[in-house]
Symmetry: C2
Subunit: 415 residues, 2 copies
């Protein structure tokens, strides 16, 4: 079976001046991959007719499916629609269904006072050579073009609108239009060994893999996910290879699934009917933010005391002033008291606490930037660990969060 | 003066299967833009020799500067280095300085036990036709190639390593190698009006702008940044145009600078010598996370009580149980008591509180997903506002956070 190849084209000067991080492409690639479509190139170009046409020519020569996002807004720099109309030999006409929807959005949803602007009404114009795809959430519709056996789809760049269009319109139509291979993934999530150490362990395994199964290393903040991707392979064979892989990395495995650390910890707590609270100084609310990002976390997460100011460690966590003076605020003694104080004040089964210097300022020769104490405990005992990170502020915060959750994971498993 | 054009090439299957969001490109584009270099294309390709060569050919035909990231790791799928060696007609040789550095990192920084692996030693091999750029943080050095008046630079994809190389080696060399125009930006940060409403206000201004000054609209979670970019323009003229722009949008202006909402709020508090604490239910620690991401926030931010579980609203914020029962946990009465309880417990000048339903679960007919109450106050008074968002969980959390900080901003300004 021939591989169905796709290219993504993203349009907008904001991507070229670096004002916006492109999160759309990763999401789109994931969805296409799951549908058996292989994204071979992603290209970003500016709001420039020549650059857009060149990208359409180049990607059309390489791929069967070309998905285009961006440049469909109401302002003067948005030129994707007229450029596509010209490229596919059509002219712009008003689409009545889109016009009704634009009016509905402005009157009932956005509730804008006054008459609609000409530029908003123009959102309902589409090239007469495309199939219009309904955008439930926004004013710019999707547009589906076909040319020489290739499919080109244009969507707005607003993530929530693009995602709605992809799920409701584009993916079902692509599945119907192309015969795609069956792609399956299996992922094992590890922590505690670097990419090159793991690769060394897997040399023989990787060499013996059949050609239809590929192994990928996906490192992220000290964690490494190992992913097998099988194309048109019997599930039983993939399962056997995955079992072999898991056996080789069992010492460093968190879970043989594609979960985030916070999702896994949440499941562990749910299964055991236990609850968690956090006391955050170094991580400044990031642990709470990660954990509450998991749907359903209200079943097992109670809350956090973000004791950013030292006085809050004293008043809300009951860490003695003298202890902070004698041991220093970044110390094993203080993090231990943070856990105890937390559990006294929030009636959770487990408490997790962080204190450290995240940078760029605040380091001293004894306690340089990147020094962090993490503590985890229950009513009976507290376990602590010292970390020394050597990165920038935001990376230090992320690494502290992941390692704190990992310490919690180990504590819960042994409890 | 001729525009100096650049292309970015990102190499790695992980970008094409959507496992990784590319944050490097935005940062690189920003830095290049500030150096007077215009990024005209960004291309991502897989770990495939043919695809890499095609991208080098295509981008080399369009740009003077081609910056390449990724594919320099120690595992078998990393093929960038041999492909570049072949493409530029060189062969791989050991670079002694890099080898010494790799050894130093393994022995002194990573502190790996046992002998170094062959695959790690290979990191010190470079094509003999490039200038080696020292990577202080990691094992893979940067590589600078020249061909037919064009510069090609290869860097690792690990963000912190790429950034170090760009700042210490690549940008200084590019500035020395190319004559670039002087690019200046002026940004005004607005909230409260959509892109199309602002565009309507600015029709005349935009039409009258000289060709060397461009206006960009940069919307982000209900905020819109308006950015003027001037190429080889006298600063005085740019300032005059910027003043005219600011006058037109003054009713919706937060600040005439490129700051985040949390940076601006932090500055406001610093200037007034005031402090902030937060009580977060809906935002689940995201306010604390945003605020503590601002370097120096420890001067004005005291901390947060993340009262995710209702019992924590009662125990730590002193919201009466009866009030929660009678008014509902997402209510004006509860958010008002959260602010008061917060200020009683954390001795801050201002308190900011959120309670709401972020989705996907937890909505009811009376309180659907996206309903949020925000409260802000000091010892004398509390102001509240009801929001109704209609997005997914993570977008609802971000929108709540921005709007809460905006409510705080207005309260502080009027205080």
């Amino acid at each position: 079976m021939e591989k169905v190849l796709a290219s993504l084209i993203t349009i907008g000067d904001e991507l070229l001046i670096g004002q916006v991080v492109d999160t759309n492409s990763a999401w789109m690639a994931q969805q296409l991959n799951d549908a058996g479509i292989w994204v071979q190139r992603r290209v970003a170009v500016g709001d420039d007719a020549g650059a857009i046409r060149l990208a359409l020519d180049q990607e059309g020569a390489l791929s069967k499916i070309i998905l285009i996002t961006g440049g469909l807004g109401p302002t003067a720099d948005d030129i994707t629609k007229p450029v596509l109309a010209e490229y596919f030999g059509g002219r712009l006409i008003v689409d009545q269904a889109t016009l009704d929807h634009v009016r509905y959005l402005f009157e009932k949803v956005f509730r804008r006072p006054g008459p609609m602007l000409e530029r908003n009404l123009k959102q309902a114009e589409v090239p007469d050579v495309c199939t219009v795809l309904f955008n439930r959430i926004g004013t710019a519709p999707g547009m589906w073009f076909e040319k020489e056996g290739r499919v080109y789809v244009s969507m707005p760049g607003v993530p929530i609108e693009m995602k709605g269009l992809m799920q409701e319109e584009v993916l079902p139509r692509l599945r119907a239009r192309f015969v795609t291979p069956r792609i399956e993934h299996r992922t094992v999530f590890t922590i505690g060994a670097g990419e090159s150490m793991i690769a060394e362990t897997l040399v023989g395994f990787e060499a013996a893999l059949p050609g239809e199964i590929k192994l990928a290393y996906l490192p992220h903040y000290g964690m490494v996910r190992l992913r097998l991707t099988a194309t048109n392979v019997d599930s039983g064979e993939l399962d056997a290879q995955f079992a072999a892989l898991c056996a080789l990395v069992q010492d460093i495995t968190v879970v043989a699934e594609d979960l985030s650390m916070e999702e896994y910890v949440g499941r562990l707590l749910m299964e055991r009917g236990k609850t968690l609270a956090t006391a955050e100084s170094a991580t400044g609310g990031n642990l709470a933010h990660l954990v509450t990002g998991v749907p359903g976390s209200s079943h097992w997460y109670m809350g956090s005391i973000v004791s950013y100011d030292t006085s809050v460690k004293e008043s809300l966590l009951g860490v003695p002033h003298d202890l902070i003076e004698s041991e220093g605020v970044v110390s094993e003694a203080v993090v231990t008291r943070m856990v105890k104080g937390l559990l006294d004040r929030i009636g959770a089964d487990y408490g997790l606490a962080t204190t450290g210097i995240m940078g760029p300022d605040g380091g001293t020769p004894e306690t340089p930037v990147g020094t962090v104490w993490v503590g985890v405990g229950n009513r009976e005992k507290v376990r602590t660990q010292l970390f020394k990170f050597r990165f920038n502020r935001s990376t230090n915060i992320q690494l502290t969060s992941v390692n704190a959750l990992n310490l919690l994971r180990l504590f819960v498993l042994e409890d």
